[in-house]
Symmetry: C2
Subunit: 347 residues, 2 copies
């Protein structure tokens, strides 16, 4: 009998893999309100809910210690998990941190990593309540789980977008990606000629966006203060295009994104030009911006228009009307997810 | 200026590392009832508590795929986390599963892993509610977080043992360790001569204890049914000696363990003899038994004596009286933790 050929993971991609591994599972605990498929899982805890999210960071895949200071790495590892909790319109409370390290790491190196972890804990008022430590065969792996709380009716999922809702994004996009390109370039130059010093002058912003992203707690607070509850929300870890498609798919809607409304910082655009990359590509597919992408009812428009950290970039349409980006020239382009696929190893 | 020499992780060991990395941290969230330092962290959720525990399993450190079927590995990865929840006298409800895999794994291999994960989920009625998938540079890493619930006054910590309490252990000890030795031996023989088939006949019990441990949900239920609430509890992942010292340290007590009361299965003793290892050493320092070690007030004696799955192996004494094991010959031996230290790579 002929044996079926094994399926390569690269053939199906990360989302395909998750779909395959989690398909057709029914939840049996009544407290499991939301499982796989949003920024965080939701557990009913009586008068409120507990939110749970987890991320795995692998050396050589998600980070390169040549240009990533351990303290920044620790900070970022926490920040990206908190971002998932905020993206549910919830407040982070606790984290667990597990690390696997090879013999090349010293106690002092790990203390440096943890100083970054604790810096993020202090800033966002979360407690480190547990974890695990292990040796590894090669390099460093960090697994963080973040827990948060929210009242049940405060939680914002990916699936609540309504036709005619405004699509909003916080901050600006693409900087983390172009910051990474710059770090990679300087690394390669250094590897060819060790006498060269990295030329990072004047690029603090884009490098900071890559190495030390901040979860947008401030945006969640701003919306709350103004009585705005998004109908759907997600954080931008894989690029605007991939994330808006998640909202469209989960909400069973389509969208119109106006290209000229997508916020891109001048320094991002300048460095992108240096790399001969269209800045728009960085914003659509770069990822790791950890900004919030959300939809709000049309009537919030007046409140939103004066919030300088929030940009209205489009609107929700019926599913049949597709997910399109309209360019300044009046062309319409089908949005596609080309975001970072953890299984395709972008570094 | 001379630079201080970096401290090797092997110099300080896993528990030393955790102490160093988590020392002097105060918790800021009032809901964080228990952080690092027990089988699971405890979060106040109003009318009940949420328990959280996490474990990292690394290929080449914690498991060897040459003799570990992926389905068993998935099952065990869940089981060891649930064991930590039961060890708090709580009920597991949900898990998250993150995996990092190298290109050598196919979709079908991961489906096999997940079939074991789901088998454990089904048996213990827990939901898989989230996770992360990533590529890895080498091998497979599995990070599981388990969540459970308990009423606040039902939770059993490591620190509640009282002088004169009985020390009890469920099941039997040392089998998982000697099962591992057998698997390792057969692997080495196979590597020398590929025509050899593994000789595992008649050793189902010890191999099963290594490859497919069960968390002792039944013991927790048995104690509950009989109205017994342990004063302290821990699960045996690192060997009896290491675990009883955790209870003594956290409870500020000492202990007397009676050597001849330590439950060791006949098949464990026989295989240990074949390896020229004292069976007692397997029980004290082998680890991975995932049995429950707990203390109960003296007045529970009558109820406990007829429970065949529970063995009274000693008693709690004052701290000043030390942690000793009394041998059949009347000698007393200081108990020491020589359990598995994840950072010393026992495999």
């Amino acid at each position: 009998m002929e044996q079926a050929k094994p399926t390569l993971l690269s053939e199906i991609g990360e989302f395909g893999l998750i779909d395959r591994l989690t398909a057709n599972r029914k939840m049996v605990q009544s407290s499991s309100l939301m499982g796989v498929g949003d920024d965080a899982a939701v557990i009913d805890a009586g008068d409120h809910c507990i939110l749970v999210t987890t991320d795995l960071l692998v050396e050589g895949i998600h980070f390169n210690l040549i240009y990533t200071p351990l303290k920044h790495l620790g900070y970022k590892a926490v920040a990206v998990n908190l971002s998932d909790i905020y993206a549910m319109n919830a407040e982070p409370r606790q984290i667990t941190v597990s690390i696997a390290v090879s013999g090349k790491f010293s106690l002092e190196a790990l203390e440096e990593l943890y100083s970054g972890i604790y810096m993020a804990c202090d800033k966002y008022k979360v407690d480190l309540i547990g974890g695990d430590t292990s040796s590894s065969v090669t390099g460093l792996t960090i697994s963080i789980t973040a827990l948060g709380t929210a009242k049940r009716d405060e939680i914002v999922y990916r699936n609540g977008a309504q036709t005619n809702d405004l699509i909003c994004v916080s901050g600006d996009l693409g900087a983390a990606y172009i910051g990474l390109q710059l770090l990679e370039r300087e690394k390669e130059l250094f590897e060819k000629d060790h006498s060269l010093q990295p030329d990072l002058d004047g690029n603090d912003y884009i490098i900071g966006r890559q190495l030390k992203p901040e979860p947008r707690a401030d945006i969640i607070q701003l919306l709350k203060d103004n009585g705005i509850k998004p109908t759907s929300m997600i954080d931008i870890s894989d690029g605007l295009s991939s994330e808006i498609l998640h909202i469209c798919k989960n909400s069973d809607k389509g969208c119109r994104i106006y290209q000229e409304k997508i916020p891109i910082d001048a320094s991002t655009a300048m460095m992108a030009a240096e790399f001969n990359i269209e800045p728009l590509i960085c914003a659509l597919h770069g990822g790791e911006d950890y900004e919030l992408l959300f939809t709000v009812p049309l009537e919030s428009f007046e409140k939103l228009r004066n919030m300088k950290e929030i940009h209205i970039i489009g609107k929700v349409v019926d599913k049949e009307d597709n997910a399109l980006m309209l360019t300044a020239e009046g062309n319409s382009i089908q949005l596609r997810a080309q975001g970072w696929d953890g299984l395709l190893e972008r570094e």
